[in-house]
Subunit: 489 residues, 2 copies
């Protein structure tokens, strides 16, 4: 039956839209970091929504599961099939048309397979900004960023993907098309179905197109770096800045001295703008659509006042673009420096701002109690509550990978415990996928998880849409017909 099934898909789409040989399939059945891999009958490449619909319908009839996959750049394995009941990988690459760009109402209608960078370029072409920006923007697809509610560097000012989507088109698990491609900003007609599909990681259906919000382009900006002796003081500056400049605050990043020093110890061509060492470093960016406004003067005044109040120790406000870029380069060197310096156990945490000082102190204390040789680093978009705690070790700290993994899992537990105690999120922006489904099942146990399961079962009663992602796979989640077949083996 299974070869027949691939043949049926091939007849439906044409052979050029199917990959079934193991070599060709390889890139689609593992995640880009090589952490997860599985099996699939084939990968299909539909070009239009009707083809996605037809494929899903055939799968629903045959009881074959579907793993939607965009650019395969996710952090949690949400787009990777697992070993288990037969499934197909549904790639959105060829649905990559920009259907329309509407500068008048600041919207853009795009298909799921559009590359994020291409969308940014198309927006730029009509003098608008599409603000989502993240490391993988050259290869990630917009459908994936919607399905994972991606974050990135512009969340403080523009919000996560959820805030940037006005409408979606999605193929439901039975193949029907849900068309909510509205360009409206106000529409109170029933349940927020769009919001349910955003961040559902393909477990409720396949997003095939979306209406995105565009924004006026910033025409002026100012960057500064400052030092503070505590997270509390840095947060005090954040509050004052926001109160005065409002949405002009487009970045407020924090770096612990441990992280800052490690960057300079391992990276070349970087110059620290500060003579004296400090406890914490903040990188601040203001931007504005009005070309005429003097943001440097605003920045200098506000940071000057913070120094006078004793909240900041020092600050630099470069007047040249080159010097501003040097400050950003320090921030952007963090990942590379940590990699060069040794092994990292990283976390994607958000905690409320007023709990950040406690988070930082308690995380460091507990990790050091477990492993006194850990260098505990903090870096993050603290402006939106997202702080990454990193336990860092020298290359020679562990005898083997297993020993490292053992310690890593203890550290994960520490950071999770502290995060939950402080009303935080264990996955601020990366999502759940495979990586965090077990942790989600623990922290959301009770009504929350139950409601999620009910929704999943209501919309995908056959449990064929990206099974085992977000929600832990259930015994009963084996596709019915396939499970019956397997039991006869």
């Amino acid at each position: 039956m299974l070869p027949d099934f691939v043949g049926r898909l091939s007849a439906l789409l044409g052979p050029a839209q199917i990959v079934a040989d193991p070599h060709g399939l390889a890139p689609y059945v593992q995640d880009w970091r090589g952490r997860y891999s599985g099996t699939a009958l084939c990968a299909v490449f539909p070009r239009i929504t009707a083809e996605v619909s037809a494929v899903v319908q055939v799968c629903a009839e045959a009881g074959v599961a579907i793993v939607p996959q965009g650019g395969n750049t996710g952090m949690c394995g949400a787009a990777t099939p697992e070993a288990g009941p037969p499934c197909i990988v549904l790639r959105l690459d060829r649905m990559n048309r920009v259907r329309s760009v509407n500068p008048l109402d600041n919207t853009m209608v795009v298909e799921a397979g559009c590359i994020l960078a291409d969308i940014q370029t198309a927006a730029d072409g009509v003098d608008r900004l599409f603000p989502l920006s993240l490391g993988a923007e050259g290869s990630c697809q917009i459908g994936g960023t919607i399905s994972t509610n991606a974050g990135g560097t512009a969340v403080l000012r523009y919000g996560p993907m959820r805030d940037l989507v006005l409408g979606i088109e999605a193929v439901l698990p039975d193949g029907r098309v849900l068309n909510k491609l509205t360009r409206l900003r106000k529409d109170n007609t029933g349940y927020a179905l769009k919001q349910l599909f955003i961040g559902a990681e393909g477990t409720l259906g396949v997003i095939t197109a979306a209406v995105l919000k565009l924004f006026p382009k910033p025409r002026t900006s100012a960057v500064a770096m400052a030092t503070a002796d505590s997270v509390e003081n840095a947060l005090g500056v954040l509050a004052r800045l926001r109160g005065e400049v409002g949405d002009r605050l487009s970045a407020f990043e924090i770096i612990s001295h441990s992280q800052y020093d490690l960057v300079f110890a391992h990276m070349d061509n970087l110059t620290s703008p500060f003579a004296a060492p400090a406890g914490w470093y903040v990188l601040i960016e203001l931007s504005d659509t009005l070309a005429g406004i003097d943001l440097l003067a605003v920045m200098e005044r506000i940071l000057g006042e913070a120094i006078e109040r004793g909240e900041l120790e020092d600050a630099v406000v470069p007047t040249s673009e080159a010097k501003a870029q040097m400050l950003w380069r320090i921030r952007h060197s963090v990942s590379e420096a940590n990699k060069r310096a040794g092994l990292s156990v990283s976390h994607d945490t958000a905690v409320p701002l007023d709990r950040q000082p406690e988070f930082v102190a308690e995380t460091e204390r507990r990790i050091r109690a477990l492993r006194p040789d850990a260098n505990v680093l903090f870096v993050g978009h603290i402006g939106d509550g997202n702080i990454h705690a990193i336990a860092h070790f020298g290359h020679a700290a562990f005898p083997d990978a297993a020993a490292f993994e053992g310690v890593a899992s203890q550290i994960n537990q520490i950071v999770d415990d502290v995060t939950i105690a402080l009303e935080g999120s264990i996955s601020a922006e990366h999502g759940i996928g495979i990586s965090n489904r077990k942790r989600l099942a623990q922290i959301a146990a009770g009504p929350e998880l139950d409601v999620m399961r009910r929704i999943k079962d209501a919309i995908d009663p056959q449990r064929l849409m990206n099974p085992g992602k977000v929600l832990m796979p259930l015994r009963s989640e084996q596709p019915v017909r396939i499970a019956a077949k397997r039991s006869r083996k």
Copy 2:
């Protein structure tokens, strides 16, 4: 059994928290405009979440429906019981504590029964803004504004209620408490349950508390009124303004000449700032958190350029607060003037900006074809796509109420048809409730309505939560045990 049921609730809550006599019940079983009324066994007034939970659990066991009710200020009857199977009205008045105000992270945790105006005041007390603002703010409760995803005057700048809520606490239809009272701005852990409850009009559960977003307070503003000869030209100005001033654009209202003239014909103490008549009038407001910025100069320059380009015919930018308020008074006099002048058939429409000219022309054409004596007025928050079409008639235009209702329903159909053809929304901000459920069932027929029904059934399988609102009542929606009882009568 029914008297027993009220007795059981009384024993649970104490008699001071129940109203069961017909006189006391009267205000809770009809909507404030007197358009809808129904019956209820009693109204209950829980003080804490645990009491809401207990009441809901008792109702679930007995198969008695629940109509959650806040300030009873809604426009569509969503908080009004209907005649039919026994239900109770669950009032949130006494859950009116502000649990915390957090200026550092710009959040506020409030209970559902808090009055909107009190929340605005509490935010103001820590030098912050809670931007939701609407006519009923002195009596509407925040739980109701969340459940209906209220809009109001600040949507252009701050978004509707959906954008202002970080977390919710809700009692599910079986009495369990869903606690998602997060203060986080980034949290990617599972389905967006919060979003599902926002705008669900109490059909999925009872929202008992919420975390709201606060904003820095604007410290300077500028108001202007301008005239244009077409909607297209007014929209051109809107696009340019937004491109330059970004989020400073806090209002962009449009008024047709028909509406403008009617205001001046029926209201005293208003002075038009324009000597010559015009086709369309726009009211523009800019605001900024930075006190130092000269918004008047920015406004004058941009409107000056628009006049030079021929997009605007004339513009006034008052330099005194009193004159600015006069311009707003013109806008705010619309409802009262229309009431004095005769009878209105009003609509709460949103259409994409580039379809607005067509909407205006086509609506007017078709209404005039039906009733040449209709004065077709347009007024609205065109900046966010929300335009109100009003067919206006003199007091003596109809022999009786039935004749008026007949014409009104034909006009409604016209406006709905044009709206749907132009990819618009038949309920931009007022919601569905009882008023629009039939229309929703028509326009969302197919997968959309089916998914809504599945979600409703998954979360509220007994169909006891505000039955018949949003989704049309089904035959089978009669509460099971009660229905059995009634059939024996």
